[in-house]
């Protein structure tokens, strides 16, 4: 069985993927991962996750153009420049 190993360097930090160990069961995976990823006190905790339990999502459809949900969906700079130009042009030419 292959176990993916995630390690946490300090309490409160995110667990990061470090590598994997192959072991017949969780007890052996525990022993080997401790040796590989913790014997110098470099991790405060480990997560051992059977690879088969990982459900990966990596296909991101964007058929509906969801730009409005993101920062890059708004072109403030161009619009603001246009608006400023317009306002100053108006100030220079008082209403006829």
């Amino acid at each position: 069985m292959i176990f993916e190993v995630f390690r946490q360097e300090k309490k409160g930090q995110a667990f990061q993927h470090a590598g994997s160990v192959e072991a017949p069961d969780a007890a052996f995976a525990d022993a080997w991962a401790r040796e590989q990823y913790g014997r110098r006190g470099e991790s405060v905790a480990l997560w051992l996750v059977p690879r088969s339990a990982v459900h990966e999502v990596s296909d991101w459809a964007d058929e509906f153009d969801l730009k409005y949900r993101r920062v890059d969906g708004y072109s403030i700079k161009t619009r603001l420049a246009e608006a400023r130009l317009r306002a100053s042009a108006k100030r220079q030419q008082p209403a006829a």
């Binding site: 993927h17 994997s20 160990v21």
Partner: protein
Amino acid sequence: MDSRTEEFLAYVQGGGQAEAGDWLPDEYRQKLIKFIEMHANSELMGVLPERDWILRAPTLQRKLALTAKVQDEVGHAQLIYRVAEDLGKPRDAMLSDLISGKAKFHNVFHYPTRTWGDVGVIAWLVDAAAIISQKALLKCSYAPYARIMKKICWEESFHILHGRDVILAMMTGTDAQRELVQEALNRWWAPLMQFHGNPIPRDEDPMWVWRIKSQGNEDARQQFLEGYVPQIWELGLTVPDPKLRRTDDGVWEYTEPDWDELRAVVTGHGPSSQERLAFRKRFLDQEKWVRETLAA
């Protein structure tokens, strides 16, 4: 090259990284396996020269440190074999290719360790040369390999310190001890200069083209010379190369390493190649029952 492969090549050349589950061009996968397998073999075989000195280490502290280093290196082999297995080559096949001589391991692990001076030179300078190669893998286009390299480089930094400490203890000791270090350096200099490989241009090196490593062979050797020759000199040691010098523009000149010797050594014709392979085979056979019991 088909368009999908071209696209992948452009992706990795632009700094992109691939994960274990991604589609990989066949050529890339094969190159990766070969490279990673040799790296793992080198870690596994690399402990044998040092193992010889565990029982003969001069103090208990040195014995413990050397044992810890050997454990680290075998651990690196385990991690690296794991990465190669995910790329599709089973561990059994890698170990049997190692034993039969079909797969290679680094030149420096084909030589004997004659004295405790050799142990110091290996831990200091061989590990220093190796860490330069390994740092060039931290940005490897194959991300699982790059990730384990972080841990490996971190542990190698202890080994260099351990090696420097061994050397400094001897250099501040008696004349006989200083002589042991100088003799060891004389023996190891040629293999060290061959270690990073022949100076093929970066763009002709498939490992660079696929961004498996991030520097060319000669860049690595120059980095080694720049970093370590001054440290060797400051201890009063002599580098056994009369042509060695640093030019005004910061490039190191040296006697052309013997590339035929390098080729012969890595194809199993080094002074200790066959003895080390026989040793590894004996233990693989002897411990077969452990692997079988665990797998059952």
